[in-house]
């Protein structure tokens, strides 16, 4: 009887702990798209992303979003052209969603499936590898999303009548902390 009570006392908090939600908040981020043109190699950078993650019952869901107009390529004219081409006034946010098991999130390399809303379209990217380094409650994530213009039905912008390359890889570097 005593043993059963003792087991109960030990196991109930453990079970409760497993049910407890874990919250993650995005501290700092650098998102940068790379655009290639025969005359130009351009990187548009944003530090304005915000993100939150929730882990519950072994499953984690993360949401990261950034205003499209927050990307700065170093030239206002080019950024306004990008905003127009990506329908950034009509669809002002780029939104990334991902879900994975909590166990997978502790590996040094995490393969995640991403759902990205951008330019009024939704694209899915499977098994995108991200590097993960942890220090206490802080976790840094970095990787590259292999995005293309055609994924989001974006008419490739052109300069001197020559369009940019279809590939616009997005580099991601983020720092998260556990609440």
């Amino acid at each position: 009887m005593n043993r059963a009570v003792l087991m109960g006392v030990l196991l109930v908090p453990a079970a409760l702990a497993a049910q407890t939600d874990t919250q993650w908040v995005l501290d700092q981020s650098t998102l940068s798209y790379h655009m290639s043109h025969p005359m130009h190699q351009v990187d548009g950078v944003s530090h304005a992303a915000k993100g939150k993650g929730t882990c519950h019952a072994g499953q984690c869901s993360f949401l990261i979003a950034a205003p499209v107009k927050s990307f700065d390529s170093g030239d206002t004219n080019r950024d306004l052209h990008m905003l127009e081409t990506t329908r950034g006034a009509q669809f002002p946010m780029v939104v990334v969603r991902t879900s994975f098991s909590e166990g997978a999130s502790t590996a040094a390399t995490i393969d995640v499936d991403l759902e990205i809303e951008f330019a009024g379209q939704t694209a899915h990217y499977a098994h995108v590898p991200f590097q993960r380094t942890a220090q206490g409650n802080e976790v840094s994530i970095s990787g590259t999303i292999p995005a293309t213009c055609s994924d989001f039905k974006i008419d490739r912008p052109s300069f001197l009548t020559v369009p940019i390359k279809n590939e616009i890889p997005v580099k991601v570097a983020m720092s998260w902390h556990k609440m």
Binding site: K50, K52, E84, Q90
Partner: protein, 305 residues
């Protein structure tokens, strides 16, 4: 001879004007995709575009939910779609002179229509939402009016860019033919009387350059401004240099005309008219630099596909 030059300049102006108008006068094509909230295309969706006045236009989407409505005059329209028991909200669309515009249509069950936002994120119940992240509704809500302004701006600046690049050709030719207006004689000496043909040709090229230049400038000046935009980067140099080549493009033809009259009166170009060439070179250099400035930084990678 003056009459001949006037005709040549007038002809150049008319060619440039017709060319500019052909670049500017275009109808638009509206296209997009009709999907449900999960992003599934609605095949054969009925898409209706109602102009402010006149009969509505109805087209049907293809098997992938893509619709296309060509030959639209610029103006205000209302777009809606229905199919597979779903309907969309009525969307205000401003068709501009941009040749292609894209508006995707989200179809939802009719009972959800009043609160169904376009491009609403579909998220699992436990997932955080955009509101949780702390973005204001101003940041997350689309602005069709601003999108239309951006589309018009891009279209006008593309025309500006094309005309501006074409201007380089007669400008270079004018600079080359300038010294030839005082071509050396066969004995190697400078002829005192410039040949009529060279002068006329140079004047006509100058006229074409001026007309093209101001046509290009028109599209840049008239392109709509985007509110709350602080300019930085190469565009600032591009615009600043216009304060050099703009007055230069006014002054050069005036000085040229003065020099032309002096030469025709048997005089050597003198006074301020003698600076025609110098002003023209400064103007051309500023013009070329402004093209480089808006293209900066340049990384040649033509070998990459």
């Amino acid at each position: 001879m003056k009459l001949k030059v006037a005709w040549l300049v007038l002809l150049s102006l008319m060619i440039v004007l017709l060319f500019s108008l052909s670049l500017a006068a275009q109808t638009a094509t509206l296209s997009g995709t009709a999907t449900d909230a999960k992003g599934k295309p609605i095949a054969n969706a009925a898409v209706t575009l109602k102009p402010a006045t006149g009969a509505p236009i109805e087209v049907h989407a293809d098997a992938d939910g893509n619709y296309r409505i060509p030959d639209l005059a610029p103006g205000e329209y209302t777009l809606s779609a229905s199919g597979e028991g779903l309907s969309s909200k009525a969307i205000k669309v401003t068709v501009t002179t941009a040749p292609r515009q894209t508006v995707d249509v989200l179809l939802v069950p009719e009972q959800e229509l009043p609160s169904a936002p376009q491009a609403a994120p579909s998220s699992a119940p436990a997932s955080p939402s955009l509101q949780d992240l702390g973005f204001s509704s101003e940041q997350t809500q689309g602005n069709a009016q601003l999108q239309a302004t951006l589309a018009k701006r891009t279209h006008m600046l593309k025309t500006h860019q094309k005309l501006g690049l074409i201007t380089v050709i007669p400008m270079a030719a004018t600079l080359i033919t300038g010294p030839q207006a005082k071509a050396k004689g066969r004995n190697g000496g400078t002829i005192k009387e410039p040949t009529t043909a060279n002068l006329d040709f140079h004047a006509a090229l100058g006229g074409a350059t001026t007309a093209l230049y101001f046509s290009a400038a028109y599209f840049a000046i008239r392109a709509p401004r985007v509110p709350d935009t602080k300019k930085h980067g190469g565009i600032r140099w591009h615009e600043a240099l216009a304060f050099v080549h703009g007055p230069g493009m006014i002054l050069t033809p005036i000085l040229g005309a003065m020099a032309y009259n002096q030469e025709n009166n048997g005089e050597k170009a003198h006074g301020i008219a003698a600076q025609h060439g110098t002003v023209a070179y400064v103007t051309a250099i500023a013009y070329g630099t402004s093209i480089v400035a808006v293209s900066w930084p340049i990384h040649w990678k033509f070998w990459e596909k």
